[in-house]
């Protein structure tokens, strides 16, 4: 029997959410202060949820491991946030955003969730503007938009290259207001170490105060996990250094199913790897593909000469350049979805046309020269100069680029020591986002009662590939507009429960387990650092569970990760003690979970014998290298049940996906 009930409401797609809202239970204002809610994570998803629940009157405790909620990884989002406002009058609508998201996800997302997301998207922008989020505006004073991949409309709102920062600071301001009013208690520099379950329900967490090392017990009537994505299983990714899977994994270990772990988004435009001491990869926002054209040399000799430093990209004549995305996908050109763009870059580099002089020659150009000229010309016309010189156009064009993307260009220059206004950027795909996560139903509740999961930590809305600018949308939609209803519906049955004691055997047991794990690592007396193992895990994942996956590679990965896990427990060395600030101890606990997760990702990727979105099985492609889905056998969400640290033992449960409102078709961007 399947454990999965997605609880999708009946009725026409456009009415499901409204009807559901009208029929959910409520908690009266006078009862709310008697109810405790824990929110783990204060990124866009967690901060918006905590602020909204606090505002409603619940007693909220919020947790984050950074020194302030404002530092969550959401802060780093660059390009923008989608919303079906149709301010540009270019044919956008709720339906179109819904359709684009389902198609972009390669028909592996749940229709009802995605439609709800599209429905509430407009309110997000209204909300943020009301909070004082300074979005980019046009000269008339109205909001500006740009395009993102996988769409043919302009629906992305932005604040230069710092959209995530501005949105998170908006959510943080709403959260701060509730903290100031005493309705939310904030625990920064605190890490959730485990979930406490009593009679099958989520009833609290064990947290570690990272400054003193003390273990703390916190009880609640519901727990919301908003702990972000797990891209750092690859060691190198665009995620912040602290991003990890542990909160989600602890919930998984306590019984929540983990869905579609193999769906990983590899972002096409990141600064290429430069050396062995590298700690992370830096994204160059997708918005740059509005203005930049991607190419490699047409001739192998030119690519070789570039790598050897004998030729400069600016010396390659126009006719000797291969704008391969424009060539292969004329309808969407440089704005194809991320998975498609990434694989196309890999294909060119594997074929020997890469231009970066690193170990693997992996790099392609993102060139702004045409855009600089054309925007410069427009600007000159706007100034009344109808016959601008070449220099004038370039000068004005550079100014235009600086205004739109200045911070990204500066970032690039600081990392590479090259000036992207003068020479094309070098870019290559890197791990960026994880579509998989804790399985949740339509109410965002996991298979553990009272444990809700939101934001990148859940699996819900993006299928096998997320469209750009949709993660920010999802985080805020769920936190501001969905969880306040669905968590209340659940809590309506808790008004008589009363305060939950923290001296129960369940809390004792959970705390003891955490203590034992900590002691075991500290007394291990191994010889290698945590990073040593994390890097090795990352290499296995990137080479065998990365952009291209094969049966043989995945089988090897599963075995290699199993061996790595054994070696890790035998030989990892963790300095210091448990009763102090100890970053190595924090890392070792996280890497232990990443190893188990990594193995499960390979298991999931092996079982899914089809290619879809970010999951590309080399055995399943057509003659032009495009993904071949198998809807007959794999049109389902694969949700895994934990059966111990060897992820080969995990049990698969399936949630069938029914496409009632969108006709399922091959994804075509040509």
């Amino acid at each position: 029997m399947s454990k999965l009930n997605s609880r999708i409401p009946e009725g026409p797609i456009a009415e499901k959410w409204t009807n559901h809202k009208n029929h959910m239970k409520l908690v009266a204002p006078n009862n709310r202060p008697k109810i405790d809610v824990i929110v783990v994570g204060t990124g866009l998803a967690g901060a918006s949820a905590a602020a909204s629940l606090g505002e409603m009157g619940y007693n909220v405790k919020a947790f984050c491991f950074q020194d302030s909620p404002r530092r969550a990884h959401s802060i780093a989002a660059q390009g923008g946030i989608n919303a079906a406002k149709n301010y540009q009058n270019d044919g956008d609508s709720v339906y179109r955003l819904f359709y684009d998201t389902i198609k972009g996800g390669d028909y592996r997302a749940r229709e009802a969730n995605v439609h709800r997301l599209a429905e509430v998207s407009g309110n997000i922008i209204d909300q943020c503007v009301a909070q004082g989020v300074p979005f980019a505006r046009e000269y008339g004073g109205l909001l500006d938009n740009r395009s993102f991949g996988g769409t043919q409309v302009q629906r992305t709102f932005y604040a230069a290259g710092q959209t995530g920062q501005q949105l998170l600071l908006g959510a943080y301001s709403a959260l701060s207001r509730q903290i100031g009013l005493g309705r939310v208690k904030m625990y920064h520099r605190h890490e959730m170490m485990d979930l406490v379950k009593i009679d099958g329900k989520a009833r609290g967490i064990i947290a570690r105060n990272l400054v003193t090392g003390e273990l703390e017990r916190h009880s609640a009537h519901a727990v919301v996990i908003a702990s972000g994505g797990y891209g750092n299983v690859y060691f190198l990714s665009t995620n912040a250094m602290g991003s990890n899977v542990s909160a989600a994994w602890k919930v998984h270990k306590r019984g929540a199913l983990f869905a579609n772990p193999c769906y990983v988004q590899i972002h096409p435009t990141c600064v290429p790897v430069h050396g062995t001491n590298q700690s992370k990869l830096t994204l160059m926002s997708e918005s740059l593909r509005n203005s930049g054209r991607i190419w490699v040399p047409k001739k192998k000799e030119d690519a070789e000469a570039i790598r050897a430093g004998k030729l400069k990209p600016t010396q390659i004549a126009e006719e000797d350049r291969d704008y391969y995305l424009e060539r292969r996908y004329p309808a969407f050109g440089n704005l194809v979805p991320r998975d498609v763009a990434s694989r196309a870059a890999k294909e060119r580099c594997d074929a020997g046309y890469g231009i970066e002089a690193n170990d693997t020659n992996e790099g392609v150009y993102l060139d702004f020269a045409s855009e600089i000229k054309s925007k410069g010309k427009q600007a000159a016309y706007a100034l009344g100069d109808h016959d601008p010189s070449e220099e004038r156009m370039i000068e004005l064009g550079k100014k235009w680029i600086e205004e739109k993307y200045g911070n990204l260009f500066q970032m690039y220059q600081k990392i590479t020591d090259e000036n992207p206004y003068e020479t094309p950027m070098k870019i290559y795909p890197a791990v960026h986002y994880t579509m998989g996560g804790v399985w949740v139903d339509y109410n965002l509740q996991s298979t553990i009662e009272g444990c809700f999961v939101t934001g990148e930590a859940n699996f819900s809305d993006h299928g096998a590939n997320r469209l750009g600018a949709s993660a920010l949308m999802q985080g805020l939609a769920d936190g501001y507009f969905v969880l306040p209803y669905t968590v209340s519906d659940y809590l309506a049955n808790e008004i008589r429960t009363g305060k939950i004691a923290t001296d129960s055997p369940e809390f004792d047991a959970a705390e003891n387990e955490v203590k034992e794990t900590i002691d075991r690592f500290l007394n291990n007396n191994g010889s290698k650092s945590v990073d040593h193992f994390h890097k090795r895990l990352g290499l296995i994942m990137w080479n065998k569970v990365g952009m291209g996956r094969s049966e043989q590679g995945l089988k090897q990965a599963i075995e290699e990760i199993g061996l790595l896990r054994e070696e890790f427990y035998k030989d990892v060395y963790v300095p210091g003690s448990s009763d102090e600030m100890n970053p190595e101890l924090e890392k070792v606990m996280r890497v232990a979970d990443l190893i188990e997760l990594g193995q499960l990702m390979a298991v999931d990727a092996l079982h899914r014998e089809e290619s879809c979105g970010g999951h590309f099985r080399e055995e399943h492609q057509d003659s032009e290298g495009e993904t071949l889905r198998d809807d007959e056998n794999f049109k389902y969400v694969g949700a895994w049940e934990y059966n111990g640290s060897d992820s080969k033992q995990s049990t698969l449960h399936k949630e069938d996906l029914n496409y009632e409102f969108i006709k399922i078709a091959a994804r075509n961007y040509k």
Binding site: A76, F135, R177
Partner: protein, 254 residues
Amino acid sequence: MASKFINITLKIWRQKNSKAKGALETYTLNDVSTDSSFLEMLDQLNEQLINEKQSPIAFDHDCREGICGMCSLYINGRAHGPDTGITTCQLHMRMFKDGDTIYVEPWRSRAFPIIKDLMVDRSAFDRIQQAGGFVSVNTSGRTMDANAIPIPKADADKAFEAAACIGCGACVASCKNGSAMLFVGAKVSQYALLPQGKVEATDRVLNMVRQMDEEGFGNCTNTGACEIECPKGISIENIARMNREFLKGALTKA
């Protein structure tokens, strides 16, 4: 990127916890790639210390791309090091030469107590924000359409520039008075420049300034060091704007 390798000497502040006495310790580190970032260099040193079973250096960091505001560090006497317009995590070793000695210390300010080694407690900034750094609007999403009030692009751009502050605290650390006026001024300005923020402008500035004083930040004497060291180019104009708002508020409330 033509990478080179250099050998360096580091003098790093070590302090076991907030109560312990700290001191500068000396370390030598060889074969540092000039393409490494400053924090990658510290990773390399930590890896070396761990392999020698010594205690690694604690420092704050997360995004490593200049946006989260988590990294800090006073490097050779300058907040965020010798380059301009960047955070410590964006500083690269190509700014240093073979044989250099580099001093690394935490932010020093009464309002930012040291937690361990190079980590400090900046929660005072959060408390200032909680005192008034918001617009009092509930999260219903239904206040009014986002385009209902057009905002002149120039105002929106200025508000955005002020809102670009990452809350790192370099302004405080580089001010001889330990003043937080640039940080607070930036937040006050962002809201003061937008119609949505104007309604509560008076209470906001009074509350935020009161909290700032309670946290033990010093007074501003217009030395301008904050603006020079701010990695996000937050302009000192924001302090002037805050002072105007404050005076207006103090007069109307008096």
